[in-house]
């Protein structure tokens, strides 16, 4: 019998060697390449992209023999949420514990602001102004509007203050605790410039400190001033980027806040230095636990409400935040993605159009884009360009955001019922288990199948 020829195996020496370095991976190579080519730090949009301990590392302990579930179809599960009961005459009443986070007119178009207002009104929740002041589009479309008081005070005025339903004093945001707002010249359009009292087209950097108060003792007086300005009607929120959360939350309580908003490092931005986004601030998971501990230690858990934000994406994320002790969550990036951020297409005049060509112009692709800072958003969300902004139709946007919020709320109630709860606010730490040691340590929830919380002595 003739022997069949054996195919030649490629020698190890002929194969192309592709040994990746964990330390100098593609991300770092790109970073160094950019730094060497431009001498500039990268500024971009969206929040931290690297993997961090997060809500995904927690799971729920649904009903079993030792816990009784609620029927999904017939038994009610309440999502009603009240914020600002401590001092305000008119607390905020929401139908769902999911709010829309502060994002500026300037970073977003006025059409987007209108879409968000409509969606929030439809779902019975609130929107929040941003570092550019209140637009009439948002006030008209949003039934419950939280008005931010930021270090820059762009557009801040007492008429809008009186029109607001709540006031949010911003000390920092998760994407850049310690940094001020940023809007590059291409987005400082005529209208934006006028609202912010700036020359058109300049690169705007907001102050990072408030102009008329410095420390926590001053903050107490500032909070009282805003109450006096509005005759004690409106709840005062204080928003912090997650750093020294335990101490900051205690100081906020002492300063007289009605509601505290804690924004973890996964929180988004439309323009921030990369080093800030990825390397300053602590994960939302750790921040929630610290905030709740601070409130519990001061015995104000029932009086001062906690809103948590920073990478809240799904109904499960919302449920976990509530179980850890938050009263509500705030969503920014997820809302923009519901509008079409990173989608490969947009809807205009009832038809779908591909946006890929415009992503390519930005040297990116759908699913990978973080170029909010350019103002050239391919789907018309984070832009002031009169042509691009037409790609987001307020009615379409409102419907998509409404759908997204409805889905999150449905998942939230489903999980709560599965844990035997009639009210989503009854979700508790004991309903959770952790999948990793880091998540267990950060969230104060035992590692699944064990009673171990790293750093906590067993009782």
């Amino acid at each position: 019998m003739a022997t069949r020829p054996v195919p030649e195996m490629p020698s190890a020496r002929d194969a192309v060697q592709r040994e990746e370095s964990a330390l100098y991976d593609r991300r770092i190579l790109d970073y160094i390449e950019r730094a060497a080519a431009t001498g500039l730090y990268e500024i971009r949009g969206l929040g931290a992209k690297r993997r961090l301990p997060h809500f995904d590392d927690l799971v729920f302990l649904g009903a079993s023999l030792s816990r009784y579930p609620l029927e999904g179809y017939r038994e009610k599960c309440t999502t009603r949420t009240i914020l600002g009961t401590r001092f305000a005459k008119k607390p905020i009443e929401l139908d769902i514990p999911i709010t829309i986070a502060g994002m500026s007119f300037g970073s977003l178009s006025a059409r987007v602001k209108e879409a968000l207002g409509r969606a929030a009104t439809a779902l019975g929740t609130s929107t929040t102004t941003g570092d550019g002041g209140m637009t009439q589009e948002e006030r008209a479309s949003s039934k419950t509007l939280v008005y931010q008081c930021l270090p820059s005070r762009y557009g801040f005025n007492p008429d809008d203050l009186r029109k607001a339903d709540a006031i949010e004093i911003v000390i920092g945001q998760g994407a850049k605790p310690g940094g001020g707002g940023m809007l590059l010249g291409q987005k400082v359009s005529s209208r934006v410039a006028k609202m912010r009292t700036l020359p058109e087209g300049i690169d705007q950097r907001s102050a990072c400190r408030h102009p008329d108060w410095t420390g926590p003792d001053d903050l107490a007086i500032k909070i009282k001033e805003l109450r006096e300005a509005t005759d004690w009607e409106k709840p005062i929120y204080v928003k912090i980027g997650a750093t020294r959360v335990f101490h900051d939350v205690k100081l906020c309580v002492h300063a007289g806040a009605d509601v505290i908003v804690v924004d973890g490092m996964q929180g988004g931005t439309a323009a921030t230095q990369l080093a800030f986004i990825e390397h300053v601030g602590i994960p939302t998971l750790a921040a929630v636990r610290q905030a709740v501990e601070a409130l519990e230690e001061l015995n104000v858990k029932e009086k001062v409400q906690l809103i948590v934000s920073g990478g809240v994406r799904t109904g499960a994320d919302v449920a976990k935040a509530l179980a850890l002790g938050a009263d509500a969550v705030s969503i920014g990036q997820g809302i923009l993605m519901a509008l079409g951020c990173n989608s490969d297409s947009y809807v205009q005049g009832g038809k779908h159009y591909s946006a890929e060509a415009d992503y390519r112009l930005l040297k990116t692709a759908s699913g990978y884009c973080h170029h909010c800072h350019t103002g050239r958003c391919p789907v018309g969300v984070t832009t002031q360009d009169p042509v691009l902004e037409q790609r987001l139709e307020p009615e379409v946007g409102a419907r998509r955001v409404s759908n997204y919020l409805k889905t999150l709320n449905m998942e939230l109630t489903m999980i709560a019922r599965a844990c035997g709860k009639q009210n989503v606010h009854h979700l508790e730490r004991e309903d959770l288990a952790a999948l990793t040691i880091e998540a267990a340590a950060m969230s104060g929830v035992p590692l699944a199948g064990t009673s171990w919380i790293p750093g906590v002595q067993p009782t």
């Binding site: 005025n157 300049i202 690169d203 102009p211 001053d218 007086i221 006096e228 300005a229 005759d231």
Partner: protein, 236 residues
């Protein structure tokens, strides 16, 4: 109302902060003031947030020292503080007139969008910080970092300015008669034009100050920080 005396219309109203709260005063001032000409606030004793967010062409006299945020967010009213004022006097003022007979603390006129603030004594740190319109006249000196990030409006300083005057200034214009210990980043002395002379003359007159506009230097933005410049020295 306890402690309130009314005279013949247009009426003059008195509040005594030893007997009434600042909240009661502010709530009154937020109400219908059509028949009120003057409100006199006695025994302020450094209380905070006196006459905050007023929106009426009424005259308010604070008979003594005010704490933080006196006349903050003022619209249309004329507020006269007969003593000194704490931090943030007339902060975020939109229109109207605020006068401080004595000294003003830090952040006087912070982020004001309009209106006219006169300080007859000295002003502390960060006078006119983040100014967004409106005019400030200081008869005495101003502290460090005055006009920091001032975006629009005018500040007239009859005395001296301390460190870092006009740091990161945008389009606000400063007029200084005395010494400037140091200018902040991007702030430069510029020549006084005929318009500047006219402006200073008018502002001094509005403040009731007898001085010559020609004695003032103009300080404005060199506009080098308007665009992020990677070639600039990064110590800034």
């Amino acid at each position: 109302m306890v402690g309130v005396t009314r005279e013949s219309a247009p009426s003059s109203v008195k509040f005594d902060l030893r007997k009434q709260s600042v909240s009661e005063l502010n709530q009154f001032l937020h109400g219908d003031l059509t028949h009120v000409a003057t409100v006199r606030v006695e025994n302020p004793d450094g209380a905070h947030s006196i006459a905050v967010a007023i929106d009426a062409p009424v005259r308010i006299e604070i008979a003594g020292h005010a704490g933080y945020y006196a006349a903050a967010m003022n619209q249309q009213a004329t507020v006269v503080i007969e003593g000194n004022a704490g931090p943030g006097v007339a902060e975020n003022m939109m229109s109207g007139r605020v006068e401080v007979a004595g000294f003003a603390s830090g952040g006087a006129g912070a982020s004001a969008h309009g209106g006219f603030l006169v300080i007859r004594g000295d002003a502390g740190l960060r006078c006119g910080i983040s100014l967004k319109g409106g005019d400030i006249v200081v008869v005495g000196d101003v502290g460090s970092f005055s006009a920091f990030m001032a975006q629009a409006g005018r500040i007239v300083i009859c005395g001296d300015a301390a460190e870092g005057l006009g740091d990161s200034i945008y389009e606000a214009i400063l007029y200084v008669r005395g010494d400037i210990r140091s200018l902040g980043a991007d702030a430069v002395v510029q020549p006084m034009t005929a318009e500047d002379i006219a402006a200073v003359t008018s502002l001094l007159a509005a403040a009731g100050i007898d001085a010559s506009a020609r004695e003032f230097k103009r300080v404005g933005s060199a506009r080098k920080l308007y665009h992020w410049n990677a070639d600039a020295k990064q110590e800034y």
